[in-house]
Amino acid sequence: MSITRPVWRQSRGRVVRHDDHGAGHRWLELEVKSPFAAPGPGQFVQLRLPPTASPVLLPRPMSVASVARSRGALRVGFLYAPVGAGTRALAGLGAGSEVEVLGPLGRGFPLGHRGTPVLLAGGRGVAPLLFAADVLARRRRAAVLLFGARGRTQLARLTDAHRRLAAIGGRLHVCTDDGSLGPRGNVVHLLERILPGLAGPLVLHACGPHAMLKAVALWSLARGVPAFLAMESMMACGTGVCRGCALPRSANARAAYVPATASSLHGSREWAMCCTEGPVFAAEDLDWERIE
């Protein structure tokens, strides 16, 4: 585990786009003032609304779905669903509104990892993976995207996913729990189904609900396929200070934990910090039996 000094900064972001994306999803785009390093796929930022605009106290960790530069400024996009008090308040922000942005935070998907990249998305977890597909394409690596959701309306940004995967020479496979689009079942079933057509060795990158990530992790561990999973946890600071976002380490990760070389920004032998060691973790580093 390498010890890296933090690079995140406090900055301000201005809402430049904020649209409805159907099925309860919204797309938010912020123009962020420098100095602010460009986040990579799987990294997140902490968004804080002005106290007058939000009933919640803590900033909200938001996974980054796109990064673009325009006229020297950084444009950062997010796909989210207003499901809690914080995101509902966020949904009320119009173009021109200002928010506080802290980031980029955490470690993203290791897209340089050897193997054919297979991206597994659940619901709005597709957003950072489309971002990952774009980055892979720039490195001349085509990706396969497996996209699952409860039903067809929950397949957020499906048209965009089709368009972008086609543009970069990737492939898109879709499944739904209710069978309303693509085969019935989850992305692990879908992976099993298309596995014979994939050129190995594979590397999996996944983002979605924890139940899905657990299924992907257990599948990958049983077959010795490397897998990287974007986890979620309740956070306060997002920077490794509050120690709030603990996730259980696997027995092997506990055994390999060397306190003398671990940064104090990271967790303890027992617990990993989702914000600084994650949010993207290798499947073998977490104890999936203790993850809900």
Binding site: W8, L57, S233, C242, S268
Partner: protein, 336 residues
């Protein structure tokens, strides 16, 4: 509109130039450039925020609580957001004495911070051993004894909520260091004034009033606590009025300085704690919202005092203590 209650009238003084306001305060042997400290557990070991916060400009950095051995902390969930506040159940996760001394302290010292090391022990003997090792460290300006963690099974707020135990413990620790010895107290007690007096009797240089309030939140879907451990410590704006009352009670009970803490989000919150008798304040949860919150409060305090024509922060401390604020021991007016 009802008539104003008797008490000192709002001072109609001429504004003081912002740059001329003297923010320095004294906590026993410790002289601080300003009265704003970070609250233990909310600023790591100081180096985590050093790339965005000039730690030299803080009154002091109070470190994460250090224990003899490293601690892994409590099982998740460790955080829950509640109305205007947050519950935490971290459980004193820390790197332990050895790593603190070897890695953290030199770094913090190199950054030029005034370091107050928070110490946690399950027994008086453990605190004694910690002070045996750290008591004469040149890089440390003072110690805060964490007598008030609500999230540990042993050596937490409940164990230390006994005045005689506190007095004896502080008296045992006093000879081990010439540096400032501050006792951080729990609000979950019958009388924080009694605990503050016990610490004063034992030889503490100051008391901090107060730590988080024990709180709980229930997950109605799974019918269990929303925290991994049943209860946690509540912090943030939700506790400010409660903490202010504890600070006021402690300040009226002792002659040593009181450090106010609990839900301070901006300079005006800090002014309230100082007004009821605090000599300094700690900023905690606000740092999770804005890493430079404590520094903003330093700047804000300077401007607020200047606007009120108060040239020295120590003249503001206890301005409310002369008021008849209800039952309690006779009011004390600090000499400044």
């Amino acid at each position: 509109m009802s008539a104003r209650r008797a008490g000192p009238p709002a001072p109609a003084r001429r504004p003081v130039p912002v740059g001329a306001v003297d923010l320095s305060v004294r906590l026993g042997p410790l002289r601080l450039g300003n009265p704003v400290l970070t609250a233990s557990g909310t600023f790591g070991y100081g180096d985590e925020y050093a790339h965005v916060v000039d730690v030299k400009a803080l009154g002091a950095v109070v470190t994460k609580t250090v224990t003899l051995e490293p601690r892994s902390g409590n099982p998740p969930a460790r955080l829950v957001e509640t109305a205007s506040g947050m519950l935490n159940s971290i459980g004193l996760e820390n790197v332990g004495l050895e790593r603190f001394r070897r890695e953290k302290l030199p770094h913090l010292c190199a950054l030029g911070a005034t370091v107050v090391t928070s110490l946690g022990g399950e027994t008086p003997a453990e605190l004694e051993r910690l002070l045996d090792v750290l008591g004469h460290e040149r890089a440390i300006a003072g110690f805060e004894l964490n007598f008030s963690c609500p999230n540990v099974a042993k050596g937490g707020a409940r164990y230390w909520a006994a005045p005689r135990r506190l007095e004896r413990t502080v008296a045992r620790l006093r000879p081990l260091t010439k540096k400032a010895l501050v006792a951080k107290l729990s609000p979950d007690v019958t009388s924080i004034g009694d605990l503050a007096r016990a610490c004063e009797q034992g030889g503490a240089d100051a008391v901090t009033a107060c730590n988080t309030f024990t709180g709980m939140a229930v997950d109605l879907v799974h019918l269990r606590s929303r925290l991994g451990r049943a209860t946690g410590g509540l912090s943030g704006p939700a506790i400010k009025p409660l903490a202010l009352a504890r600070c006021h009670e402690a300040a009226r009970a002792v002659r040593i300085p009181v450090i106010g803490s609990g839900g301070i989000m901006d300079a005006r919150d800090a002014l309230e704690f100082l007004a009821v008798g605090a000599s300094a304040v700690q900023v905690g949860t606000a740092t999770f919202l804005q890493p430079d919150a404590a520094l903003r409060i330093v700047a804000g305090l300077r401007a607020e005092l200047a606007g009120r024509g108060v040239a020295r922060v120590c003249d503001w401390t206890g301005v409310l203590c002369g008021e008849p604020l209800g039952e309690g021991p006779p009011a004390r007016r600090p000499s400044g």
